[in-house]
Subunit: 241 residues, 2 copies
């Protein structure tokens, strides 16, 4: 908590610290980006910084806090760069959703950290402020706005998860879609031929032939986001009159 907001006070006695929280968190994020969250261990991060493992504990109570700090760090965000309330609530929500989507893209490990709670660090609060400001023109009560926002964020997380699964499958075992179907295929063909899945068996062949990770993954995300916002728009119109 204090770590997140940087309100801890330096004691005056004793040697100056050779490290900073920032450097530690930065190193951890670098490792996570490059090798996945699984590679982020206290030993590994310490090695990255050329210090002993236990030195990190002078700056952090434990690994959990490190993960919390990583989460808030990558949420850094400058509202001035993005459309304000005058652009309309839909544009703002789209901006937030796409920003979050790209965040998941840049840091795929985001979904894999045990996020025991939505920790509110400075950057997260900053983003929240931006969003609420963007919804100021909406004729709903505050709690309802928050709910809609949570729904959109939830959708983004879900979509990111869908894509992450594909990406991980490929990375982890070095298996591509093609190889995967080679392994999985026979079992499925057998299942299809069993006659227990008539509707599945009748699907056209190209049904599953698309890439979740590239442009088509983005298209899927946008399709869902568009539908969700359509529904929300109708709701706002109906309720807000």
């Amino acid at each position: 908590m204090e770590l997140l907001w940087g309100t801890g006070e330096r004691p005056t006695r004793g040697p100056k610290p050779g490290l900073t929280l920032d450097r530690i968190v930065g190193a951890a994020v670098t490792v996570a980006d490059a090798e996945g969250i699984g590679a982020v261990s206290m030993r590994r991060v310490a090695a990255e910084l050329g210090v002993g493992t236990m030195s990190l504990y002078r700056y952090l109570p434990g690994k959990g806090e490190l993960l919390d700090l990583m989460l808030d760090r990558i949420a850094a965000f400058d509202p001035a760069e993005f459309p304000g309330p005058e652009a309309g609530w839909r544009t703002v929500l789209e901006t937030v959703a796409r920003g979050s989507w790209q965040l998941h893209h840049r840091h795929p490990w985001l979904l894999q950290v045990d996020q025991t709670r939505p920790l509110l660090g400075p950057n997260s609060v900053n983003a929240l402020e931006y969003t609420i400001r963007g919804l100021s023109g909406v004729a709903l009560r505050d709690p309802e706005k928050i709910r809609l926002l949570m729904i959109v964020e939830g959708y983004v997380a879900g979509a990111a998860r869908t894509r992450l699964n594909s990406a991980l499958a490929e990375k982890r075992t070095g298996i591509t879609d093609e190889e995967w179907w080679k392994i999985q295929g026979p079992f499925l063909v057998q299942a299809m031929e069993s006659g227990r899945y008539p509707h599945l068996a009748q699907l056209s062949e190209d049904t599953f032939a698309f890439d979740d990770e590239g442009d088509e993954g983005d298209a899927l995300f946008e399709l869902g986001l568009g539908r969700l916002l359509d529904g929300i728009a109708a709701y706002i119109e109906r309720r807000g009159g």
Copy 2:
């Protein structure tokens, strides 16, 4: 894979196995339900069954496969109990979404397993068949149906994640919402008073005062699902003509 579909053949020689895959997976699910996925270790599961740790490896190549099997096992599902295509695509999608939602409710660890890929076991395929059948009346091409389904599933996963975060926060540290605000509050109050977050500061006080876990969590889920399906309905109408 073979494990999932149960197509492995028993060798004739040697002693009969004292365990079954089913018992192992069942024990693992029991442990996960009761104490979270973190408590599921090979040693723990073996202890639960009263056998040595390494005995499990006679039935499973490793822990990853155990998790895969757990996932498919809890996806057991009897299509006959649920509305068929005659009820309309929306009802079917709602059924699927609510089923998945309740599944996450019953097995909160579902989201925490590193689902490297959407493994298609018999139960998952079964559910997929049901859904596709339910969409047979929709005037869209097959790939598009699948995409809409993925979007809905993604939304459910995201919503479940939102709720999971709240639940975990409470369980993990035994901290309730109230205590949490006691800790987090001062920092946020300070942030609010800094004047950097005018719109947040102006939110009514009850904005965040709702329980993600109980009925209000369900209401949030239903609200989002309704909006999403509204948007999908408009889309189908527009495209399917």
